[in-house]
Symmetry: C2
Subunit: 679 residues, 2 copies
Amino acid sequence: MSQDPLVVFTPSGRRGHFPIGTPVLQAARALGVDIDSTCGGRGLCGRCQVSLAEGEFAKHGVHSCAANLSPRSETELAWEKTHGAKLDGRRLSCSTTIRGDVVIDVPADSQVHRQVVRKGAELGDIALDPAVRLYYVEVQEPDMHLPSSDLRRLKEALDFEWRLTDLQADIRVVQQLQGALRRGDWKVTVAVHEAERIIAVWPGLHEKVYGMAVDVGSTTIAAHLCDLQTGAVIASAGRMNPQIRFGEDLMSRVSYVMMNPGGDGEMTREVRTALNALAAELAAEAGIAVAEIVEATFVGNPVMHHLLFGINPVELGGAPFALATDEAVTGLWATEIDLHIHPNARIYALPCIAGHVGADTAGAILSETPYLTDAMTLIVDIGTNAEIVLGNRQRLLAASSPTGPAFEGAQISCGQRAAPGAIERVRIDRETLEPRFKVIGCELWSDEPGFAEATAATGITGICGSGIIEVLAEMFLAGIIDQDGVIDGALAARTARVKASGRTFTYSLFESAERSLHITQNDVRAIQLAKAALYAGVRLLMDKLGLERIDRIRLAGAFGSHIDVKYAMILGLIPDCALEHVASVGNAAGAGACIALLNRGRRGEIEAAVRRIDKIETAVEASFQQYFVEAMAIPHKCDPFPNLRAVVALPEAVAKDRAGSGRSRRGRRERTPIEGVTT
Amino acid sequence: MSQDPLVVFTPSGRRGHFPIGTPVLQAARALGVDIDSTCGGRGLCGRCQVSLAEGEFAKHGVHSCAANLSPRSETELAWEKTHGAKLDGRRLSCSTTIRGDVVIDVPADSQVHRQVVRKGAELGDIALDPAVRLYYVEVQEPDMHLPSSDLRRLKEALDFEWRLTDLQADIRVVQQLQGALRRGDWKVTVAVHEAERIIAVWPGLHEKVYGMAVDVGSTTIAAHLCDLQTGAVIASAGRMNPQIRFGEDLMSRVSYVMMNPGGDGEMTREVRTALNALAAELAAEAGIAVAEIVEATFVGNPVMHHLLFGINPVELGGAPFALATDEAVTGLWATEIDLHIHPNARIYALPCIAGHVGADTAGAILSETPYLTDAMTLIVDIGTNAEIVLGNRQRLLAASSPTGPAFEGAQISCGQRAAPGAIERVRIDRETLEPRFKVIGCELWSDEPGFAEATAATGITGICGSGIIEVLAEMFLAGIIDQDGVIDGALAARTARVKASGRTFTYSLFESAERSLHITQNDVRAIQLAKAALYAGVRLLMDKLGLERIDRIRLAGAFGSHIDVKYAMILGLIPDCALEHVASVGNAAGAGACIALLNRGRRGEIEAAVRRIDKIETAVEASFQQYFVEAMAIPHKCDPFPNLRAVVALPEAVAKDRAGSGRSRRGRRERTPIEGVTT
């Protein structure tokens, strides 16, 4: 044994002695070194590439040199020719044998469970371990002397070559199997789901397998197409949710169902039609066939989730807001939801959490993993409702706050969706009370040269959600509105922008021949109601955990991505927190769908986390109402916000008022901190 | 404890002490006594009826009297009123409490796993344990203080009340669940498949649940509708397999697929359409809705099986005759095969055994259970091919012999299907050589008075399979044909019934103005070929097991049911065996489908048995050809048939010829008996 050459694999450091002539791949497998292969070591797939590390490795007592590996083989030359690619000094470990001591490096892209390093912040690094994997096998031909079915021999081959035991097979696979085996000359590639079930079969070596991750939002459906062999996102697309014609927001869609029997079926058909269009678009963009998509994962709020799966959502429209199911949907045939990808493709949907807290929130939790950290983490996803998750590895709470659609611009006199021409940034001069602003689609501030020309095409059409937050926060900092949100009519004497309108006043943000954009007292009230609801929900969860401080805040979703967190804190949307620990995380729900697509282990992770979550229904919590009232003030009356004070000069009245604020102190006395919770 | 009353249950003999006031059902459960209940002890379903055994039970030291049970309860009176039935002295064990020592008898029809005693020989007694069972539960209403989904609360109730843990639910059930719970005022009945999966839900108490067992034959599709609560067959129906328009026999249907791409799809659609018509017919006959059928089990030969499941059967049309799958089909949604029963109903199909030996043979094996006995058992199912199963609990062999369609009358000049007007019984006078016969649809022999009038309506149209066997055997016994099957032309001098026809002779069975029915030399040859193939297959399997004698023979299928086993043995279709151990068992395949429907444990039993079977392909066995040649003779040249000689006077030539026959002795010397095999 010690006479045999020593083979050391890096980076794992695993080592062992193997007889001369042993293929490198075989040595790796014997040592449990993680090297990928679809073709089972036949030199076809090229996934098992390794590099020779040359030189003296004193630590291992190895002199590793090219002469200690077999020379380039016919198989390797053939692979290069077939794939039109060069191995560039790498070797196919299946076709390279050991002749002496060597150190073999397994590059990241040859590891089965490689880390997929994702661009951008939305998706952290993911260990690639998709639910659907491909396996190439050579199947014994039928033999009249040993009668046995094609399926049995396929399963025997999968057991022998890949140690996949006790596999089941879809009847749909059985329907295709005999043709595939004979067209492939008894060599086929199968797709196996969850190491349990054969869901597809192709003749010969089939190397392409894709999945789609979908976030079904009330307004937008967003989807990513992923290569399940590499983890790469190879196409992304989004489109309006066609259900919008039944109602802009969730409640109006549920109302539509209540008023129109069968309306749920209509909406289910609409969303599924849109999904098929999206799948076709993604496939076309990536240059693949839709039938090569073998899995789809979904997130969505409870109403979208239920409509997608053909569940009538009316129960979600009124108390007690009972979900039909709070389990993950697993292993469903895509055809069962009329999705035209591979006909045997599987569907996975993350679990919904509670009647107002959906699989989208589960996706955000999976993406942000508060359940893995000691840091007390707040995740807020603001839409028509705000989903709130608070906690850490010890305990996790979730709730929904009824913010209403004000943050989406719906109840604001000059509000609009985020689109070119919408004001998104605002500053107000503390002395002159003159505003300047930026609009979507133009990099210039409104007081910079060229602004008028640059915005001529779009015009200035309204204020989007982030613009509303900024203009109100700036009005507050400039003293135009006070803590109670009242526009100070006395300022009409100082500036023409403050004008009377009936018994209240307005602040003029922009006026032109075509359009004038005012902030009215009602606009201020609408935002106050929305932000008070959001804050009260957060405060309620903090109370449940006995917290006075939150360690980090993650703002998810489109609105959360665009607002300036500082202004959100000034206006009191979110609790006081060190600004460097507040971040927008984009579409965290969609990121969660991608993670579930690329790593099956993390499905179990989020399912377990969701089961553990304490679901809080704000409507039945008396303290929610109290906090709501206190949070109407700007920023609010629940906290002395030390972090905010450190970065922003708040109006003097706030400073005085907060010092003796009793609510939070009372709260602190009433509750004992939970063990292990960072306070 | 010993102060508490003693409760003894019969027939189980289980006994225990329980406090006064304990419901009888609760006591039974505590002792593991098998009492049925769908409603969970709420006095709704009436399935838990028991009887008080009154008197002195010295063995138990119990004086059991009516006073020791609570008086008839309101619940029992209400049950009688609701069901329009009387309990007739029985008690609902859920609503009856213990007041003193009692002996309680649990009648068979109140036991969960009761034996279903079947009429007729086809279906033995079956322990009722269907895969789909009903459970009635009361589900907690949703509570905003403890948000939880309706599915979760349903599962909690099933766990709490029925100890059903880790159930999964079809998405289709989730779609129905919220409506059912609310319509049923939070009381629902669910159907659970294999104690694993909720497949249906109904509001309130639902007590009706049915299954259908189907034998998909090439010619006829036969189905039984069973009440899964009682095991009773409540309707039966059959219809022609509409695939017949693509070809009478299996091979012509496979040829059709080979010649017509898409032909398999056509035939799949045809058989599924017929199944839907059958299901509707069964439901109408039983007065139930098709949607109350929650499971269907199937048997069929390999080609029928594959076409039913949408698998192209061309591979079964040529060597090496590879099945796509030899596994049972389990848990498939009925909709996946376009079967319009309950949309979530499940499909179970018994496994096919080999390319020529199908799930129908598996059904016959399940019905006859040779794998449970020491007796060396031969099962023969004769159709276009003859499926042969031979063995006992030690070892089981299966093969198919290519008999061709002669037994079905296809290659016989005056042959026809079994139908009114067909000759089915024949006797030939040994002296006069005059025949007499019976036709289907008439109880009289042809030489009895009134026969002509009784058959006037149908006429006498041909000979069916059993008639062919009898006429040839009688011709042999009367010396009209010799051991080699040659019609003796010399007899033309004795009787006008023997006539020359070219270079051979014919025997006239019936002549009238409209029709004359002759047995030609070609007819004899066709039957000789068919019976030689059948016998050679049996002999081959006997050789494999080292057998000279078979303990019992079971003739399955329509042909097997109608032939007189004595004539079959005279003609040499089956090997020599004590006549009292030879029996026709009717549609044993269909019986197997019923058994699988009514008892889920027996599914595992047949699946295991089929895996253990040695599959023999006659085409590759050299000795098959040898036996085939020897078996062309009548009865055959392989055996001295002692049992047959004991009951029938064989022509003298046979007696001489067989004494020194070497074949079988050689066979005996060559093989050593298998341990434990009865020879």
